[in-house]
Amino acid sequence: MCIAAPGRVIRLFQREGLEMGEVDFGGIAREVCLAHVPGVRAGDHVMVHAGFALEIIDESEVARFQQLWREVLTGGRAGEESP
């Protein structure tokens, strides 16, 4: 039950004072409550669970991970997880 799905915030709106958003999950748009992710902006990716955004996905971490492993796999580094 704790599986969350990543989606991209298409737009933000308020419903009776509650921060909501339309979130795109690979082509399917759903309304999601954004009350727990203040500062979220259209275009951000969020992890969504049971209709609520749990957290904004930190895309700089994704880029860092990709860059690091690109270097590892091309032989530049010994491996991120090595002691």
Partner: protein, 375 residues
Amino acid sequence: MNLAPFRDPAIAARLIEETHRVQSRPWVIMETCGGQTHAILRLGLDQLLPRGLELVHGPGCPVCVTPAPLIDHAIALAARPEVILATFGDMMRVPGTASTLFAARAAGGDVRMVYSALDALELAHTNPDREVVFFAIGFETTAPGSAQAVMRARSQGVANFSLLSAHVLVPAAIRYLLEDPGNRVQGYLAAGHACAVLGGQPYEELAARFHVPIVITGFEAIDLLRGILRVVQMLEAGEARVENAYERVVHHEGNLQAQDAIWNVFMSRGREWRGIGLIPASGLTLKPEYSAWNAQLKFGPPAETSTEPGICISGLVLQGLKKPPECPAFGRECTPGHPLGAPMVSAEGACAAYFSYQRMPEGRDDKSPGSEGAA
């Protein structure tokens, strides 16, 4: 969202190779979340890791640990003509003592599946002459949503909405397992999405006190392999820290807004976990100022306690003390179509995972568990 790097076979191969390289002796690691259990078995990661590395499956399936009397209570409420009982779909087929919410609906009860706690609140708005009870299931992942629904019910003066809270907290369960003298788990993969809410902090004290490495881990193949490798590396080095291998989603302090929502509405208390027993401070109940939205107070306490079918060993499975195929009923009397225990029902139950991905007991000639669920 480009998840390709977290599913990259070349990275997976390197992580697996590194795990084989660093592991010098047998270790037992628990993945605490049922979603992780399913991902590990679906991806076959368990079959790619070193032989001496044993993965055991934890209690992180909230519908599996919801005690039968609480389900019986929900079923009893659903039978009341004025009640609309709303809950997540995962809960519908989980057996109480003698029945399920699906059966209650078939018998005429108004049971609705909802996607979000706010959908349940909306039902109260659109059915002002009915009482909407939201059977609130889940760990700290879903609790903020339930809290938000209750706060809104109060601020909007919605009197025909109440919560039957079955929320539980993961760190309390891990503590309980660590305190068990029979515990054999040496390292933990903490559930990534639960940690997105509460953060890594609740695990710091556990790692230090019980000297166990705990790694916050996500759900993609690379997330899981990174978490496993970091636990093995710390075990080999004799280290016991909390580390975060799910950096793109989890902050060390967690999600403070979600925590505020939880602690504004709920307080912790001891809770029965199905098959395990009473775990101190592991459940969330509504604070007194929200009593008007507490279904237990509104409709009275549940009926008497109940017992599991004698043959089912789900309590031991949920504690990581037994694996599903060790149960004599597994794949025979107990299948997803006819479950005896909750872990065979839930989409995140360990027994359902073993059944679906055909991890049958060694020596059993019925290698194919049948067509059901095995596709």
